[in-house]
C-alpha cells in the first residue's frame, strides 16, 4: 500500500501544480490587449497618405524615420529594418506604364493581429490607438511577424549600436519592432519624424491627426475624399488611409 499512498500524493501534487500554472490564465483575461477599445478616449491617432503629392524618388520620410528611431541599415535586403519603406507599384490590370510610389508602414489596426498573437503582451494597442511593441519585454518569438498580414513587423537580427538620436533608446538584438507613429514625439505634442520631414521637403503627403476630432485636417480629408485602406477585408480596421491608391 506504500505505492498507492505515493501515487495519491503525486496525483494531488501534480493537480496542484497544474492549478497554480493555470492561475495566470484566469487573471490575465482582464488585461487582455484585444479588449482595449479606443472609442472611449478622446485621442485616436491616424494617418492619411496622399499619394498624389508623394514624389517617386523622394525618401525623406524613410531617412528621417531611421534617424529619429536609431535604425541602422546595411543594405541587406533580407534583414534590414524599415519602419516605413517606399515601394514602387506597377499595375497588373492595364498595359500602360502605370507606376505609383507608395510608403508602407504599420497600419495601427484597431484589431491588431500582432497584439492578439503576442504571448506576453509586449505588443499592445495604446488607448490612443497606437500599436506599440515594448522592446524591454519582447522575448523575440516572432509570432507577431507571422500574424501581421502587412509584413509591417521587423526583427532585430543584429545588435545595433547606432544611436544618432540620444533621446530614443536603442534596441537589443532579438526583439521585434515596427512603426509606433513616433509615440514619444506625439506625447510631447510634436509630430512624427516622417510627417515633419515630408513637410520640410514641401511634399505634404503625410498627414497625422486625431480621428476622433471631427474638425481635424485628417478627419476632413477622410470625410471628403475617397480613401482606401490596405486589406480592409481582413477586418483589422487599419488607421492608415491612402488617398489616390
Amino acid at each position: 500500500m506504500h505505492r498507492r499512498r505515493f501515487l495519491k500524493a503525486s496525483a494531488i501534487l501534480s493537480a496542484g501544480a497544474a492549478g497554480a500554472y493555470a492561475l495566470p490564465l484566469l487573471t490575465a483575461f482582464k488585461s487582455s490587449p484585444a479588449s482595449a477599445r479606443a472609442a472611449s478616449t478622446k485621442l485616436r491617432w491616424g494617418m492619411v497618405i496622399d499619394l498624389g503629392r508623394c514624389p517617386a524618388n523622394c525618401t525623406a520620410c524613410v531617412d528621417a524615420c531611421k534617424k529619429e528611431n536609431n535604425v541602422n541599415t546595411s543594405g541587406d535586403r533580407r534583414l534590414d529594418i524599415y519602419r516605413i519603406r517606399k515601394v514602387t507599384l506597377e499595375s497588373t490590370l492595364v498595359a500602360a506604364p502605370a507606376q505609383k510610389s507608395v510608403p508602407l508602414l504599420c497600419n495601427h489596426c484597431d484589431n491588431p493581429p500582432c497584439a492578439l498573437a503576442c504571448p506576453i503582451q509586449a505588443t499592445y494597442k495604446r488607448e490612443d490607438g497606437i500599436v506599440i511593441v515594448d522592446p524591454h519585454r519582447c522575448m523575440g518569438c516572432r509570432y507577431c511577424m507571422i500574424a501581421c498580414p502587412y509584413n509591417a513587423r521587423q526583427f532585430n537580427f543584429r545588435e545595433n549600436r547606432h544611436q544618432p538620436n540620444p533621446a530614443y533608446p536603442k534596441r537589443q538584438h532579438g526583439v521585434a519592432e515596427s512603426c509606433d507613429l513616433c509615440a514619444h514625439l506625439l506625447d510631447q505634442g510634436k509630430r512624427p519624424a516622417c510627417v515633419e520631414a515630408c513637410e520640410q521637403s514641401h511634399a505634404n503627403a503625410l498627414i497625422v491627426g486625431n480621428l476622433n476630432d471631427p474638425s481635424s485636417e485628417i478627419a476632413t480629408l477622410i470625410r471628403n475624399h475617397p480613401v482606401r485602406r490596405l486589406r480592409e477585408e481582413l477586418g483589422t480596421e487599419p488607421k492608415v488611409f491612402y488617398l489616390g491608391l
Binding site: 496525483a11 501534480s14 500554472y21 507599384l89 498573437a117 518569438c141 526583427f155 537580427f157 543584429r158 490596405l230
Partner: protein, 397 residues
Amino acid sequence: MDIEFKQIEGRSKPFYLLTIALAALVLAGAYSTWMMNQHGLYLSGMSNRIPWGLPIVMAVFYIGLSAGSLVISSLYGVFGKLEYKPFARVATFMAMLLMIGALLSILTDQGRLDRVMVEPFLHFNPLSMLSINPFLYSSYILICTAYLCVMMVENEKWTKILALIAVLWAILVHSGTGAIFGFVPRELYTSSLLPPSFVAAALSSGTALMILVILVLFRLTKRPLAPKPMLWIGRLLAVFIVVAGYFVFIENAHRYYVAASRAAEHDYLFGGFHSVVFWVGLVFLGTIVPAAILLERKSGNSRHSIRRVACASVMVVLGVLCERYLIVIPGLSHPPGLIPGWMITQSAVEEGIVNYCPTSYEIMQSLGVVALVSLCFIWGLKLLRLLPTEAKGMSHG
C-alpha cells in the same frame, strides 16, 4: 497475464559509444544556441519575411510524433487491449520526451532567452495561440508523467483514468498547434481545417515512429516480439495515412478552387522547392507509396510483412516531416496581396516570393534537440522498467 518489465542491459560498448556521440551532438546544439543568442539570429537562415524556420518545423514535428506514441499506449490504457500492454510504458515515455523536445525547440528558438522563463508568467496573454499552446504542452508533459507513473506501479484504475485524460489532452494539444498557423490571417495559413488535419498527420507519424522504435528495441535487446500486434498497428497506420491524405487533398483543392487563394496555391503546388517537397515528399513517398504497401492484401510470411510495415513507417515519418515543413515555410515565403491589381517592383527590402535555407547553426541546434531526446530515451530504458522481456501475441482479453 503478468508481463515482466525489465531495464535494458546498457553495458555494451555500442551503448556507451552511442551515449558519447549523442552527448557530443547535444553540446554542439547548446553551442549554436548560445552563439545565436549572443550574436543575434542573423546567424540563422531566417529573415524578416521568413521569421520562422527549422526549429519551429521540428517543434511541430515533435508534437505530432508525441500524439502518435500516445495512441499506441492508449490501445491498452483506454481500450484495454492487453496485447498492446507490453508497448504502453515505452510509448508513454516516448510521448513525454517528444513533447519535452518540442518545448525545447520552441524555447531555444526565442530571440531573448533571458526573458523566456520570466515574461510569460508575468504578462500572460490568454488569447495568444502561442501562450495557450505552451500551457497545453507543459500540462501534457505532466499528465503523461503521471500516466507513466501509475502504469509503472500497475494501478489499473488510475491507468484507465489518466490514459483517457492524456488522450483527450493530446487532441487539445494538436488542435492548438494547428491553430497557431490556422488562426493567422495569411493566404496559406488561414484554415479551420488545419487543426484536425494536424491531428491526423500527428497520428500517422507518431504511430509510424512507434512501430520503428519497438521493432528496433526488441531486435537490439534480443527480446521476442510476436508479429501479430505489430501488423495490426500497421493496419491502423494505413487508416491514419488515408485520413491525413484526405485532409491534405481537401485543403489544397479548396485553396485552388477559390479565386482568392489561387495565386498563392499555384505557387505552393507548382512554385519551387516546396512544390517538390509537396509532390515527391508528402504526396508520393509519404502518402501513396506507404498506403499502398500497407493496404496490399497479398501477404507472405509474417517476417516479410513486418519488414514492409517497417519500410512504410520510415516513409510516413519522413513524409510527415515534409508536411510540417510545408505548413510553416510556404505560407511565409508567399507574399501577402497588399494591394490587389498592383505589383511591387522596387523596394529596399525583400518583396515577392522569398526563399529560406537553414544555416549550419540552426541544423546543429535542431540535431542537438534530437540528440537530447534520444539520450534521455536510451538512458530511461536503462534506468526504468519500460520494456517487457517479451511481447507475446495473444487473443483479446
